[in-house]
Symmetry: C2
Subunit: 641 residues, 2 copies
């Protein structure tokens, strides 16, 4: 029978971590650190495996600390402007900075204070103190002094300090060898377009990348197909040659997920299933005294689970503490509900909007790699929490430096491909302004401005009665906000259809008459309003359109569904159709504006954006090359309050 026969447990995170620590202790995982002696010149970024002591002193001799002359201080005891002292012959000698001070001298006079009468006669008007301008032997480091303690990550200056004191070899800690084994018959290598049911194997690249950043020596492996024997062989081999083995995936309980069965046969499954989200089906096992971790298949689950269970292991293997994460306080822009009994890890985008750092959930799908590309941080909702409310202060673990977050312009609202053009032009060169954009439709953007989540919202909301764009919606939903409505563009909206328009669609009437399949945009999207108005003007009802209830959230996902052949047509912009090589049946030109609260008008990021859309040639060229746009009002204020 096909149904699952392994039940994944739901062990509390704390208990799972404790069990895992105990298991690692039992196999002496924490005592397995080795050290190796390498050249100091190759040691940058390595961690000292033993304290480092100076082999000799620095300076190794008394050295002139200035360009000038070496003297005996006693000779100058009486020197003054009124009675300068003359030194000749062996009473002084010229020295440059760093020169060894000859044994008979005990002070240096700076060249600026030396009046040369002849090559071997000088006049000096200032007394000297013993050892002035002399770096005495060992002034910096004395032989046998501690330079670096054990467990110290070696920086360039540390290499310098070692070499300066005659240390040329250093004991460093050996990194754990980690192998990441991808599993699944559906996996194909990058470089080939995936057919139905095929998945590009990129997880192992992400996982080894992070493991190496954490200090491991991680390698990938060829994917193992869904074959119990092959998996058994792969694991048996890997545990012999590595300190840690990671299996990705096969951690859940699907019909072909053999990982836990094989691990139980080869060794001991310590934990299978933890009450975390994402990442629940994780497996923690020991085979041949080697820890083997089965990570879930979805990239986001795999990464977050690896951070939870493997990150610390890498450091502990080297008898080190995991470096502290960077955290920031932020205010939730909207509530998040969380299931009790599960530790939940929520991807967060942050925006310095006004004086507050606002935190907004960045997408939920465990497969959504882009949500993690875009995420600025992680919010942990512990098992005892039902979630957090809007406006509540939360602590966010940062995934990128806070300074990057602070230079980010947050755009939430309707999507237009011009936003990507702006994102590139603003990030280019030394401006380095990031745009973080969330595509939630025009009304979603207005609501985001209300919540203080965004600096600006892209909007193309058509008022059915007045035929005007955006203004009536602003008056209704943003009545209390001082703002400017600034035009970004006019753009063609129309029906996107497959290349060659095989159904010969001329407009919505054809869609209704020929019972063609349509894909709609969500409620609150400007395109939805335009669709509804167009249908109404034509006397068509939603029920006349097959697929009216099937909603997507962006132009591009509508276009993708058509390109894939899932549906016959959908409403969208020409740029989206062009991007996916679709044909386009124009329906109307619409106006697309940016709503910008006046409080952000002095923000340098907003000013840079307005400068771009008002006078940048490269911007105009790039937009015109997309097709379907008019920039005749771009940058103009259409309304303000």
């Amino acid at each position: 029978m096909n149904q699952k026969n392994i039940y994944v447990k739901n062990m509390p995170l704390g208990e799972a971590k404790e069990k895992w620590q105990d298991a690692l202790q039992k196999i002496s995982f924490f005592d397995s650190a080795h050290v190796t002696k390498i050249s100091v010149e190759d040691a940058l970024g390595q961690v000292t495996g033993a304290p480092v002591f100076a082999a000799h002193s620095s300076p190794a001799y008394n050295a002139a600390a200035m360009d000038g002359i070496a003297v005996h201080f006693a000779d100058l005891a009486a020197a003054s402007d009124a009675a300068p002292v003359r030194l000749t012959g062996k009473q002084f000698t010229a020295v440059n900075t760093g020169n060894c001070l000859p044994q008979e001298f005990d002070a240096v006079v700076m060249i600026e204070d030396v009046h040369y009468l002849e090559e071997n006669e000088v006049e000096l008007a200032i007394p000297a103190t013993p050892w002035q301008h002399v770096r005495t032997i060992g002034e910096d480091i004395v032989a046998t002094e501690l330079i670096l303690p054990v467990g110290h990550k070696i920086r360039p200056i540390d290499q310098g300090a070692m070499l300066a004191t005659g240390v040329t070899k250093v004991l460093v800690k050996e990194a754990p060898l980690v192998q990441v084994i991808p599993t699944g018959s559906e996996l194909i290598q990058p470089g080939v377009a995936p057919g139905p049911g095929q998945i590009i194997e990129f997880n192992s690249r992400i996982l080894t990348g992070y493991l190496n950043e954490w200090g491991a020596k991680a390698t990938g492996a060829s994917p193992v197909s869904d074959d119990k024997e092959k998996l058994r062989t792969a694991i048996s081999d890997a545990v012999k040659k590595n300190d840690i083995v990671i299996i990705n995936a096969g951690a859940s309980a699907g019909t072909r997920d053999y990982t836990s069965t094989v691990l139980a046969e080869l060794g001991e499954v310590v934990v299978h299933g933890v009450a975390i989200k994402p990442g629940k089906p994780v497996i923690l096992a020991v085979v041949n005294d080697t820890p083997v971790i089965g990570l879930p298949g979805y990239p986001v689950s795999a990464i977050l689970t690896m951070r939870l269970f493997v990150h610390e292991m890498i450091y502990n293997f080297m008898d080190m503490q995991k470096p502290a994460s960077q955290w920031t306080a932020a205010r939730m822009s909207r509530p998040i509900h969380s299931a009790m009994g599960v530790d939940e890890f929520v991807r967060i985008t942050l925006g310095q909007v006004g004086t507050e750092l606002m935190a907004t959930p960045a997408g939920k799908g465990a497969g959504a790699v882009m949500s993690l590309v875009r995420a600025d941080g992680i919010l942990t909702l512990p098992a005892g929490s039902e979630g957090v409310g809007a406006g509540e202060e939360v602590q966010i673990e940062l995934l990128r430096p806070l300074t990057d977050v602070q230079s980010t312009l947050v755009a939430i609202g309707s999507h237009d491909n011009i936003i990507d053009v702006l994102a590139n032009l603003l990030h280019k060169g030394r401006k380095a302004i990031r745009i973080s954009s969330a595509h939630v439709g025009s009304m979603g953007g207005i609501m985001a401005l209300r919540r203080g989540e965004a600096h600006l919202a892209g909007s193309h909301l058509l008022d059915e009665k007045s035929g005007e764009y955006n203004i009536s919606f602003i008056k209704r939903f943003l009545a209390d906000t001082k703002l400017q409505l600034i035009n970004l563009c006019y753009r063609q909206q129309g029906l996107m259809v497959a290349k060659g328009n095989p159904q010969a669609i001329k407009g919505f009437q054809d869609v209704a008459d020929k019972h063609l399949s349509f894909i709609n945009r969500q409620n609150g999207a400007g395109t939805r309003l335009l669709t509804d108005k167009t249908l109404k003007d034509m006397g068509l009802k939603p029920s006349d359109i097959n697929g009216y209830e099937h909603e997507e959230y962006t132009h591009m996902s509508v276009a993708a569904a058509i390109a894939n052949g899932s549906v016959d047509c959908g409403m969208g912009i020409l740029a989206a159709a062009n991007a996916l090589n679709l044909d386009f049946v124009p329906v109307a030109e619409e106006r697309y504006d940016l709503i910008i609260p006046k409080q952000f008008m002095d923000d340098k990021k907003i000013q840079a954006l307005l400068e771009l859309i008002r006078k940048n040639d490269e911007f105009q060229t790039l937009v015109n090359s997309l097709g379907g746009y008019s920039l005749r009002d771009s940058g103009n204020i259409m309304y303000e309050q």
Copy 2:
């Protein structure tokens, strides 16, 4: 004649930076960035040279998001507990997470909700919604969508996002090629003990290390001796093959510093001499349209000057902004005076002492590599500032993460080699507690506690009258501080003499009688008090001891002077004598205590330290192997108030 003939200017920093920017602009330095196409798999840490767009969508097809069965949602419209729906044959098919959803289905039911009656018959009690548990095509990324903007540093997750969407090659920015040329006939390669006047060439290792960390491709070179022609050849060759050339040193105006002369002959010296400290003699020049920077020879000057003038160039070459530094607010523990008209950069050690982050200058010598190894940050005193007062709040640019600073125990006072033993044992393993120790003598430590600079002070101050250690000094100088005086050790003090004791010294009487040369410790040092009491008890006067006025600040620097043959003897501890292979003539056993304010007694770092000295076997073994110590009272409270 030997005197200098080049006068180094004192140009204000702002003006120097402006002139340099203009010169770089003139040679189109900022337009020289190139991009190169590399495999995404090799792109970790590289910077995108162009925006990256998705080559295909992800998922590339509608995919099951759960293990379960694929269904048509409409079949389940009426399903309920009371009236479950049965599906057979072609009405459903088993799917695993990630499987392609067959064209005829439009929803997935989780395995948990499926009741199998037979292999091809299931019963379902819950209705389904369209596309439930389905990852629709392009849900994560749609083909042609922007994945990464230009100028983005590629992380593992970014590699994953590119590979997931069929991007296998990526344009990245080429790093500038930088060559660091060390100059000076006094330079020798690491691995050889330096003779008089010789200096180990380690600067180029430090400089290339930092340059590479900043993203350059930096290489070193063989040192060029002080020969004008050789220097000319080296520079002429280097500018042809590199984007930036760094000469170290020859930037000052000593008798053999040819750099500026040669640069003026080969090209244009834009700036020579900037009003900064350290780093004044820096040279900024252009040869063959290539920037050439002459850095001062002292390592600290060279590094700080390179941070000022070259750090930003590396990023600007790649048309990027230099990443923001990390800063922290801190309170000065003592005043710093600064010359007006000079931008001064002060190395700072930080200590989280109580609730305040205290900033203390970390040493001044431009040659003091260890001061930069120990420094936690840099304080900038601008040209218009006369300095900062004690207790003043200052902004510190961090050289190590603030979390490292917070896990640092600040010990200021008399030095004892046991402090190094403790530093290693506390930093070992997962405790990762750093000890930052400054050796300023016992009285210096007491003053540091008064100023709130330190968590603890090592002290061995002998009261001449009572014969007691430390207590009378505490009562006098720390009367208002609740504290414990905890014994660390008893130790032998004596006269350190050259190996074999060639002068057959038996004690101070011999030193006086034979007019031997002596090296003393500074006022306020416990050893100085012991010396004075010993001399007094013997009826000797300071003037009877040749060298009484020559002061050093640590046991080890006294030992080094004896090892070097500069002086015949000095007072110190057996451990210091042993470390430098000296002979030792015992004079007295003294007590060495730690003074710890009670407010820090609950601090985990202090508790870890006390645990070590009270019961750790490794500590006892290591200390006993140093010789000259007794731990009979170690950890015991000798006094408290």
